[in-house]
Every structure is written in C-alpha cells, then in structure tokens.
C-alpha cells in the first residue's frame, strides 16, 4: 500500500461524492480538505465521503477531517461517511467525528440519506 492517498470527486446535483484510495494522513487529509473546501465554495450542500479503499487513518488525518467538518457546519452543509472498515468506523466514533457527521454502511445509503439527485 502506498502512503499517498488519491482523492477523486464527482458532483451529483448539489452533493459532492468523494472517493479516497490510500492512507488518510497529513497528505491525504490535506487533499480531501482542498477538494472539500472547493466543493463548498461551489455551493455543495452535502459531502459524501466513500472511504472503502482506505485502510488507515492517523490522528493528523482525523484532525483535518474534523476541520473539514467544522467548515461544513459553518456553511450549514452536511457531511456523511460510508464504506468504513470496522476499525476506521470505531476510530471516527471515538474521535468525535460521528457526533456531527453521519456514517452509513454503503454509498447508496449515504446518498439516499442526504437526498442526492442522480
């Protein structure tokens, strides 16, 4: 596994869907934050992050995701995660991310929950 994280984004109406592939550390977190802020600036009202190809998240990555979450909340938007490994799921719950961001098992469930249009 590479220590670099690839992030791809696709817009579904006013919902931005993110796919990560790799380690969410400082580099991966910054990459996600950059794309997330850009989507918020473009008016996204919901961000759905599919992490099914991510097996590792460290505390730097989490702190950046928390910053993203704070920004999302400032903009009155919503953030949802899906495709988490059990370890990452538990990590997000302990670190408080799950307090303000919803976690769904699958991308479809997340998209349905945030009301994404096709």
């Amino acid at each position: 596994m590479s220590e670099t994280c690839k992030v791809s984004v696709e817009r579904r109406g006013d919902v931005a869907v993110f796919w990560t592939d790799g380690y969410i550390n400082n580099q991966g977190g910054e990459e996600i934050a950059k794309e997330a802020y850009a989507e918020l600036d473009r008016g996204a009202r919901a961000l759905v992050m599919n992490l099914e190809k991510t097996r590792i998240v460290n505390s730097i990555g989490i702190s950046i995701l928390i910053e993203v979450l704070e920004k999302v909340m400032e903009r009155k938007a919503v953030l949802a995660f899906c495709g988490l490994t059990p370890t990452i799921d538990k990590t997000f719950r302990i670190m408080g991310l799950a307090q303000y961001a919803a976690i769904y098992p699958t991308e479809n469930e997340a998209l349905q929950a945030v009301g994404a249009t096709a």
Binding site: E3, V57, T87
Partner: protein, 558 residues
Amino acid sequence: MPSSPTRSGAVSEDALRAPGSVSGLARALAALKRETDKPLPVRIAEAALAAVGARRAAVYLRDGDRWLLGFDSGKEGVPIEPPKALLENVVSDGGRLWVPLDAEGETHGCLALEGVEHEEPEELAAALGWIFGSVLAASRLSRLVKDAEFEIKARLLELESLYDLGLSLSGQLDISALADEVLYRSISLTDARKGTLIVFGERGAGPLVRSVGGDLLPAHALWSWELPEGEAVINNDAARVPTAGVQLSDCSKCLAVSIAVPGRRLGVLAVADKESRDGRVLDFTPGDARLLSLFANQASAAIETTRLHREAIEKERIERELELAAAIQRQLLPRELPHTPGFELAGSTLPTRQVGGDYFDWFPLSDGRLGFVVADVSGKGIPAALLVSTVHAAIHLQIDASETIVDLVSRIDRHLQRFSPAHKFLTLFFGLLETGGDLVRYVSAGHNPALIARSGGVIDRLSATGVPLGLLPRGSWREETAPLHKGDLLCVYTDGFTEATNGDDEEFGLERLEQGVRSRRTLPTRQISDALYGEVASFAAGIPQYDDQTLLIIKREA
C-alpha cells in the same frame, strides 16, 4: 459632499468612519467576530487597520520567547519587524507602534502598526491591545481545550485499539490478515508515514513481508536484523545512523521492535517518519515505543497461536492419512488362513507406528505347495510402508512367472533396484512347503535366522543364504532346504522381536525367543504366537519400542 444623516441623526458617516470613533471600533470588532473564514491574526490585523486608520498592520504570535508572524497586511516586501523582546506597554518608534496583546497578565501576541492617523494613537492602541489580547487568549485557550480533548480521545483510541486488536487477533488464523491488522494499527496510532512488518517463514518458507509506503528493511537484512527482544528501538536519526546495525531505506526517523516468543524470533515490526500537522517529521517518543511493543506482544502471541493451530490441523490431517495408510496396509496382509492339510499356521504383525515396514504373506500355489514370506524393510513409517507395498506387488506379480525361489527373489531384487530409492533395502525370508513332504525350501536374504523347533526340543537356526534385497547391484542367493518332520515347528520373525528392549536397555534376544518357542512347541500356533507377543511386552514393561514385530509360525501336525 455633505454627510447623510445616520439613523439616530446625531453623528455623520465621516465621523463614524473616523479612526478611533466608537462606531468604527464597533464595526471593526463585529467584523472580527463575523468573518470566521479568515484566520484570527488576519482578522485582528484588519480590525486594527479599521479601528486606528493605520496603513499597515502585522500580528505576531508568541511561541515561548519567540515571535511567530501570524499575518502582515503589507502585500509584499519585508514584514514589519517584531519587537525585540516581550512588551509591557505600547512602544512607539519612527512612525511605528508595537502593541502588546495581553490578557490576564500574559502576553499572547503583538500588534505592529505603521502609518497610524489617530491623534492619540498610543492610548487607543493600548485599549485595542487589551481587546485583541483577550480575543487571542480566548482563541488559544479554546484551541488548548480542543487539543486536550483530542489528546484524551487519542489515548482512549489507543486503549480501545489494543483491546480490539487482542480480540481480533484471537480469532484470526490467517497470518497475512493478522499482519495487515497489526501493521495498519501500528502506523495509524504512531502517526507514522510508513511501516513494514515481517513474519519469518517456517520450515524453509520465505518470510511474509507487508509494507505501507515501501519496504523499510532491505531484502538482504530480512533474516539478520537483530533487534533486542522485548523493547522497541527508537532511532530519530535513521537517515544517517543504522538502526540495530541495519541502514533502513528511505526514512529519517524510525521505531522498530522484534516480534518474538521466549527464545524464538517470529518477525519484526518497524514504523518510520512520524507526521506532524505542519508536515514536519517528529521524533518518536518513549510512549510510541511502549505502544509499538504492546502491539508486537499481541502480534507474537497471535502468530504463535495461529501457527500452533495450523500445526494441530496439519497433525490431525497426517493422523487421518496415516490411519488410511494403515487400513490400506492391513489389506496387504493375508485375511484368511490357507488350506494346508497337515500344517497349522499363524501369522501376525505389530507395527510401532500406524504403518510399518514389516510384511508377511502366504501364497497357495496351483500345484498344492504353499509359499510364505516374512520381510523387514529398512526404515520406518510411511517410506517403509510404501516399500512394503512395492514388495507386495512385486511378489504377487512375479511368483507365477518364477521357476525357483532364487528366481523370484532375484526378480524382486531387480524390481527394487529399479523402483525404490537409494539406500532402501529389505531382508526377506521366502519359504516353500512341499506338498505332503518333510521338507521346506527357502531363501533367506539377509534375514534373521528362522528357527525350527524339533519335536524333541532341539532348535535349528536357518541362517541367511544371501544378502538383503536392494542393497547391492549384483546380489546372489542360494536355495536351501531343511527337513520339517511331524511335530516340528518353524518360526520366522523380524528383528523387532529379538531387539525389543527393556528399561535397562537390554535386548529380548534370540535365546529368549528360542526358549519361548521351545517351551510352547506343542501348543496351537495361535496360542504360541499370542504368548510370544505377550512375553516380549512383559519384557519391555511399557518401554516404547522402535521396531515393528512380525511373527509367522508353521507347525507340521504330529
């Protein structure tokens, strides 16, 4: 242009915009509160510019006894210099003001201003310093609280991870998945950028290597990395200094630990380059080392358990296969006694393992004669059993085509020379009872001397008439005959009988066997056989024996 009236109608807009006006100050502070998208030093500088009408403002943040530039409103060029030391009061020098940002007796930062238009800039600046200092202090306190909360959660996550890892590994029998789990958690919880976990292979198998961000350990050092047992090694200068004697690949700081059970290394776990939020690589700490050691301990227990479990499964599989092999080998033994008027027979074999290297058989021939054989293959267990199968097949295939016993034995020898592995041989006694005659013909290929107990009690030994089969490229054998009168008893056996040992390492020996045969020669052959097996067992007194025991008894009825 005349000023338009304000809502109150009392103060003009120009007056409100004037540096130091109450409303201007209020607006500046409102912007400070509102524009949270901007970093706090930017907002403080912009509020200061609006409040005092300066051309340029810079905000320095205190970091111990240093100043860190937070923001300078100057678009380019050299930033406004920070003060030389911590300030107690506003300092004015050459058109510049340095304002301490204080709160509750502590300096949190400094505001530097250029081109202030206010008439009493120092007094206004002092007031702003107190306001901005309080904002800065509140922000720093808020961040400290957040950081502390994050730290507590991170410690909780470590504890939970250790607990979860223990649970997860206890049910994990796939070493590869186990290695991933340990490596990912180790990297994640130490904030390392990369890591490698190596589990050494057993019984000649190659090592299992799992890495994130490239292999840390060069291939030549996979087996030789001698890390101390029980504690992790911190090397915060890994780019220049070898770690436990090995120069690691492409990392600047490293933390490594041996995965071991007492007296045996199972693998190594190493992580490298601990990240910080600002992109620097931090030193690994004793806390990181303790955490990695705990992971390594859990990994070693899980790997060992997995291996033991696998070995148990493998052992069970081998046991099942041996049971099957034993059943197959039992099929090679004669299942019923041949019809031999005037003779009484008994034959049996007792392998020391599930399968053995001894073999006996008899062959009623079409002309009424009876052939019989006792063989003992060198070695034990499965290899010996496979050779027994080969000999069994060879005898059954060649017996009808052979004109004499020597011819048969020679054919078996050639078969073995061709098809059996080198250094494998067997001793064999092949006999032929003549119909109604007083004669036994035989070839003994290096076999223990068969015994004939005469009806009068005398014992004759039938010595070897050639070399063992499969031993020499051109062996030769000769056929001998021995009289077998009414009441005489022929006993053919393997060396598991005579070489059975007791607790004093004493062998049962040929003399005891001869005595046993002599004293029971008048009994039915089955009884003689059972009694001889029993006598050897009593002699051994529970000491495990290492050689199969086989006995064939033929008695000419009186």
